[in-house]
């Protein structure tokens, strides 16, 4: 018995503390989302008298003509299209940067660094978007997300591609497979592990993005889920149960991603990043 305790004492300490610190807020979200508005106002961890989660979800989804449903559609389109573009165009570019040293690659390295550090100039970006008639459009926001995620994606891809032996390229090139075909047939399939990482991290980042839709896609008719949640603050003045139901709803997609890709996230992220 003593041996059992000695072996597992860290677990006995760590699990409750870990749950308390990291899981308690989510429990609060779930409980509050299941209460009626009076109970929700108490802000406590008590169980709801009646389990109203499903009713609350229906209310939230019906608010303002289904703005939350529209927001989910918008957020999904935004995430899927942005991430697809990022995976394709960034791995293409990273491939060239990793293999072809030269002035352009040096310049690209500086640009990647800039992309990571420099805060985007928001109002001038609005000015550019307006001139291209892309302001307040989902298309415009997609291109913005691609531009802002490019630096990180290229960095990760470059690191990973460096570990693919150059002989493979040369063998394929001798068979006449170059450029786009080379990338598409040979390299891209080999990038699957890091593709998963990029897809997971970028889709979570784009789905949870608040600042960019706030600036570039203002307005409730074509908002994203983060924006509708933010705007609900003034609409649900006293109905915290509905506010938290919305929080619960927008936590579900990342939760699904997490459950599926849990292990791969860790391995992919560390493969290319620590060496920097």
């Amino acid at each position: 018995m003593k041996k059992f305790l000695h072996k597992y004492w860290i677990d006995f300490l760590a699990i409750p503390i870990g749950l308390f610190v990291f899981a308690a807020p989510f429990i609060l979200i779930f409980l509050t989302a299941s209460k009626n508005s009076k109970e929700a106002f108490q802000f406590n961890f008590e169980m709801p008298e009646k389990f109203l989660l499903w009713e609350n979800i229906k209310t939230v989804l019906g608010t303002s003509d289904g703005v939350v449903i529209r927001a989910f559609i918008n957020s999904t389109i935004l995430t899927v299209v942005s991430v697809t573009l990022i995976v394709v165009v960034c791995s293409m570019a990273a491939f060239v940067f990793a293999r072809r040293p030269g002035k352009l690659t040096n310049f690209a390295n500086i640009m990647v660094l800039a992309g990571l550090v420099v805060p985007p100039a928001v109002v001038p970006t609005i000015w550019v978007l307006q001139r291209l008639h892309l302001f307040k459009t989902l298309q415009g926001l997609i291109l913005i997300e691609v531009a802002y995620s490019a630096a990180f994606a290229i960095l990760i891809y470059k690191g990973f591609i460096a570990s693919i032996p150059k002989e493979i390229d040369e063998a394929a090139a001798m068979d006449g497979c170059t450029g786009f075909a080379l990338w598409r047939r040979i390299i891209f399939p080999l990038l699957m592990p890091v593709n998963v990482t990029i897809i997971v991290t970028t889709s979570v980042a784009v789905f949870n993005d608040f600042t960019n839709p706030l600036y570039f896609l203002p307005g409730s008719d074509n908002a994203t889920v983060q924006l509708t949640l933010f705007y609900f603050q003034s609409a649900y003045l006293t109905q915290y149960n509905l506010l938290f139901t919305d929080i619960l709803l927008i936590t579900i997609p990342p939760l699904i991603v997490f459950i599926i890709f849990n292990k791969k996230i860790v391995s992919g992220l560390t493969a290319g990043s620590v060496k920097g």
């Binding site: 559609i73 299209v81 307006q130 298309q139 997609i142 705007y231 003034s234």
Partner: protein, 428 residues
């Protein structure tokens, strides 16, 4: 290989395709209307649309909601700037209206036939360059002090007509264990009422204040009378008359406290009445109103917030249908509809011959007494285009004791410089 081709084609198609947006506009008799998402406004808007569509079959109005507060301000400005505003939209009048660049962005309504339904007192707050651009939405609201009648009855207090009497009442209230003054700094806009509602007293002492303020000749820090509003906050903070949790109380919680008698006074405007009606209907009649008192009992009146305006953007593609709807909103029928929305009427309409419902909440009846005496003045933001964006946060600092009234007034004077310069006003 095919799969990858499709994988590429799909996002490309989506990029150049349409986004999922609100229903698009079809015929000439279908228009969109942008209103802020506060519950009372939503209810009124929906009632108006229902009545209009019933009276005009074949005409459809689609309601679009936007957030209130500064997020809403920003949204309205960008929609106008990018030509993507709904056919009709409701927004503040006065200085916020001026910030919309009306002569460039809005449809001129000066010569429309329905304009004669609108009282001329409304014209100044929706005019620019001698043209009128909007019709009123809802009633005027009045700023002053909401108070709990039961507390006053229990402690046998009289309605104060001077500031000294008001503070004496506060002292007795505090001694009885009730919070004298409720503040709700979680929502910073509520911090402004002591200053803004005091404008009646300022303009009584300095009738030319608005014009001089606009011309950079008057300052809150310099003008002793204008400074008083700031000092009122400072004074109450020093004497500890605020509710203990005032730094985190929300607007809704403050209204509950007032209605339930946990606090005696709440400096606020009558747009709160419909909200109290929704939150504490049983206690609505416990709430009364009196004007924010000044130093002299002979000068006692209320500061009026002119109603929001309903405007039409110049870029609209449905001008005729929009004008028809806007014109209908000045009709007696529309007034009836608005009166039908519980607690929506908080003062007089700016529409000729408009009736106020007979069964008004007691607080609103208190308000009407001041109108009967003609003891009213419009708030500064309706007679001057200058209102700095930071006033509410600066006043929160005074209320929390972070800064003094004098420093806060100077900070606000510095703040409005940005606004004045952005508007390109002379003399700045």
């Amino acid at each position: 290989m095919m799969k990858r081709g499709i994988a590429l084609a799909l996002p490309l198609a989506l990029i150049f395709g349409a986004t999922v947006a609100a229903p698009s506009q079809a015929a000439d008799t279908e228009i969109t209307w942008l209103v802020d998402n506060g519950q009372a406004n939503q209810d009124a808007a929906n009632a108006l649309i229902a009545a209009y569509e019933k009276a005009n079959p074949g005409n459809k109005v689609t309601l679009v909601l936007r957030p209130g507060g500064t997020d809403g301000d920003n949204l309205v400005k960008t929609k106008l700037a990018t030509g993507s505003m709904e056919d009709v939209f409701t927004y503040n009048s006065g200085s916020l209206f001026q910030a919309l660049a009306p002569t460039k962005n809005l449809l001129d309504m000066t010569n429309e036939p329905f304009m004669k339904n609108v009282l001329s007192g409304f014209y100044p707050v929706v005019s620019a360059g001698k043209k009128v651009y909007g019709v009123p939405f809802g009633t005027a609201s009045v700023g002053g002090i909401l108070y709990n009648k039961k507390v006053y009855a229990k402690l046998k207090l009289k309605i104060p007509t001077t500031w000294a009497e008001f503070m004496a009442n506060n002292k007795k209230i505090k001694a009885a264990g009730i919070d004298p003054v409720i503040q709700s700094y979680k929502e910073t806009w509520t911090s402004q009422l002591f200053v803004l509602a005091d404008y009646f007293n300022v303009q009584a002492a300095y009738p030319n204040f608005a014009a001089d303020y606009t011309a950079n000749k008057e300052k809150y820090a310099k003008n002793k009378v204008a400074l008083r509003g700031f000092q009122y906050i400072e004074e109450n903070k020093k004497l500890n008359y605020f509710n203990r949790d005032y730094a985190s109380t929300t607007y809704a919680q403050a209204l509950d406290k007032l209605a339930l008698g946990q606090g005696a006074h709440y400096p606020m405007a009558t747009w709160a009445i419909p909200q109290i009606a929704a939150q504490q209907p049983a206690n609505l009649e416990d709430v009364g109103f009196f004007a924010q008192p000044g130093p002299k009992a002979s000068v006692n009146g209320v500061t009026v917030w002119v109603p929001s305006g309903t405007y039409i953007p110049a870029a609209t593609k449905n001008a005729a249908a929009a004008k028809k709807f806007v014109g209908w909103m000045t009709s007696a029928k529309a007034v009836d509809v608005m009166n039908g929305v519980e607690g929506f009427a908080g003062g007089p309409y700016y529409i000729k011959g408009a009736n106020i419902p007979n069964a008004l909440p007691g607080a609103v009846q208190d308000v009407m007494k001041y109108f009967a005496k003609n003891a009213t003045a419009p708030a500064l933001e309706f007679v001057s285009p200058i209102k700095g964006p930071n006033l509410e946060k600066i006043l929160v600092e005074v209320g929390l004791g972070i800064t003094t009234a004098a420093k806060a007034a100077a900070a606000y004077d510095a703040d409005v410089v940005k606004q004045a310069k952005q508007l390109g006003l002379k003399g700045w």
